[in-house]
């Protein structure tokens, strides 16, 4: 998250990029484009194997829509907190930055807590990676999503620690903005997963 490489060429001469877009932000959008294909392949596999399991437990027996609706709401709210954190750092509000970054990270962790509860519950109900195609596709898809959320939480906590030590000022708003792009992306992926796996059975 270092700006120095943004315009390695151009100090003093051509500080602008060819498009006017920030290089870090552009590169990050490209990464998210790549991630779309990653999650797209995982989701397509889940849908291909829907109803193909030869033994139970089957999705309708085990998925808990009310509980997951709550955890989805938690994750959606964390995106709101992320927006507030970015707004705070952009207007140079250090206290607001600290509060909203921590709120985002906490809601993200709460989502992960829901997910571990769900995984443990499924395990005790007899659904593991090895049980059937539903278990394999479900755990690998949601597991990769959970891993992305975990990376996001760590990222947010690092930013929070930087803010605490006064190293995240108005000039560093881009760092929060890019973390926000990631966070919103992971959130949107969850909305797709929640819709396709939980709501449309």
């Amino acid at each position: 998250m270092n700006h120095a490489a943004v315009v390695p060429a151009s100090h003093g001469e051509h500080p602008e990029t060819a498009t006017g877009l920030n290089t870090w932000k552009l590169g990050f959008w490209v990464l998210l484009g790549s991630e779309t294909l990653f999650f797209g392949s995982l989701i397509a596999t889940y849908l291909t194997y829907k109803g193909e399991s030869v033994v139970g437990p089957y999705p309708h027996e085990i998925l808990n829509i009310p509980l997951t609706s709550i955890s989805t709401f938690v994750l959606l709210m964390s995106s709101l907190m992320m927006v507030l954190a970015l707004a705070a750092v952009q207007r140079g509000d250090r206290k607001g930055t600290l509060v909203w970054l921590m709120a985002t990270a906490l809601l993200g962790s709460l989502f992960l807590g829901f997910q571990s509860y769900e995984f443990t519950h499924f395990y005790h109900a007899g659904l593991t990676l090895e049980t059937n195609l539903f278990g394999s596709t479900f755990f690998v898809l949601t597991g990769f999503h959970g891993a992305h959320v975990t990376v996001g939480v760590i990222w947010l906590l690092v930013l929070w620690a930087m803010a605490l030590r006064g190293r995240l000022t108005q000039a560093d708003a881009l760092k929060v903005e890019i973390a926000g792009l990631y966070w919103h992306f992971v959130d949107i992926v969850w909305i797709v997963i929640f819709t396709l796996i939980y709501l449309i059975q």
Binding site: M1, N2, H3, A4, A5, V6, V7, P8, A9, S10, H11, E13, H14, T17, A18, T19, L21, T23, L26, G27, V30, L31, G33, S34, E35, L37, F38, S41, L42, T45, T48, Y49, E52, S53, V54, L129, E130, N132, L133, G135, S136, T137, V140, I154, V158
Partner: protein, 604 residues
Amino acid sequence: MATAEATVPAAAAEPRGLWSWLTTVDHKRIGILYGVTALAFFIIGGIEALLIRIQLARPENTFLDPDTYNQLFTMHGTTMIFLVAMPLAVAFFNYVVPLQIGARDVAFPRLNALSYWIFLLGGLVLNSSWLFGAAPDGGWFGYAPLSERQYSPGLNMDFWAIGLQILGIASILGGINFITTIINLRAPGMRLMRMPLFTWMTLVTSFLLITAMPVIAVALFFLQFDRNYGTNFFVPSAGGDPILWQHLFWMFGHPEVYILVLPAFGIISDVIPTFSRKPLFGYAIMVYSGILIGFIGWGVWSHHMFATGLGPIADSFFSVATMIIAIPTGVKIFNWLATMWGGSLRFTTAMLYAVGMIAVFTIGGVSGVHHSVAPADLQQTDTYYVVAHFHYVILAIILAFFAGIYYWFPKITGRMMDERLGKWSFAFTFVGGNVLFFPMHFIGLLGMPRRTWTYFSELNLGGLNLLSTIGAFTMAFGVLLVLINMVRSARRGEPAPANPWGAATLEWATSSPPPVYNFARIPTIHSREPLWDEHGGKLQTEDLVQLEPGQRIHLPSPSYWPLVTAIGVAATFVLFMTQTWWAPLLGVAVTAIGVINWAFEPAH
């Protein structure tokens, strides 16, 4: 250089020694690392090919046993695609693209170093399998369930899946870097439609990399989880579908073909105008057809799967899509010819290789159209006809890369390659390559299956196969001459001027080799041929390279964190082989340490 160096500030002076290579973030050095590594793997992959050809030189030969043969053809294919053709293209991306667009480095120099180190470690992991006597043996496509634990119980296919997984990450990161570099770091006036064709094809290829590699990453995760953690993705008894593997693999695998060939198109689209002394014919249509190939390349993957019985609708769709992709490709061939038409041609070695590429690629393209006809394809599937087809395409790619080596070598080393030896090398690679692969068309149509370690003498294929083997050794000698020429010329070649070929594009405006900062003054671009247009006279190399008194150029500092991070990434996947859930987390921890230290490292 000698005069320029006096005014180079300490921070910008060229560092020396092994440590400077381990920590370099300079796109030119990373390009050289990619190139040298890829050529080393080329020798390994070439030896594997020669062993295969010795075995097939006569019927019912016992030079190799079937197991070794399986390992050799799997590793030959995997090596040539992932460790030779892709990284050679990336070597040119690295060295040439920033110079062509007037940038001082890529957008993310340390990420670039990370890509290289991950690629190197992936290649080493893959090839370390030989030391365990367990080289991958399930084909470069790794069809499940053959590649599953039940049918491939050894570590062989673990090495394959893990090696490719590591290499794929390097490719995705490289793709991100080059898209951002080309979009954002162009010099003033270097509009998109003024970029050299090689830069354009790099851009299209990078988009294919970031979209195709995640798909195989997912397929490889499924395979590794099936093999090591008991999932059922490709286990037919649990409802798993082998066809899903083929879809995921070829959804990556066909764009991959264009990942290999578009850089080759880009190289010869720069070489041919230079040695015809004419601007590229139909520049805009060349750009658009490259983009179109990239798009349609995403909609043809199932032509690899006609024999699986997808049904008439899918077969028709993928047949037609495959035929359509021949149109933009044909446009390119005609435009190269039209560029040469009426030009003042100079047949340097680079030009010979470029023209040879057009001929060879046309043959490979025509047999490709044969495969697009589904009923014909059913006859050709799994025969040597398919082997003939894709080796013609890949021979064309290699000829284009050799054109690139002869073309850009003076820029990279500051020395000219030996043209006399160069023409001999062309004669041997071109003639040898055709003698090697052309008989395979007949061998295939006469019924010889691929991936089989031997054939019966009753098939009467011994003569054609022997001819093919003679071609293989002829071509290998030609490749050897290229390598000898490179080593000799790097040490004793004639000093190269900034623009030895009188080329039109920006990389020839800076000195040979370029200073570490590429350009002291970033030029403003007014046309597609900046060194040929009326402003070109003003682009004096001296002015572009000489630092003004007191001028300081900030360059990104060397860093060893990319290397640490790459070790973490490679370790994560290698530790899948322990079949425990916690061991890969050790690799994740090393990766995290690398990334966090990297993020807080001061960049100047």
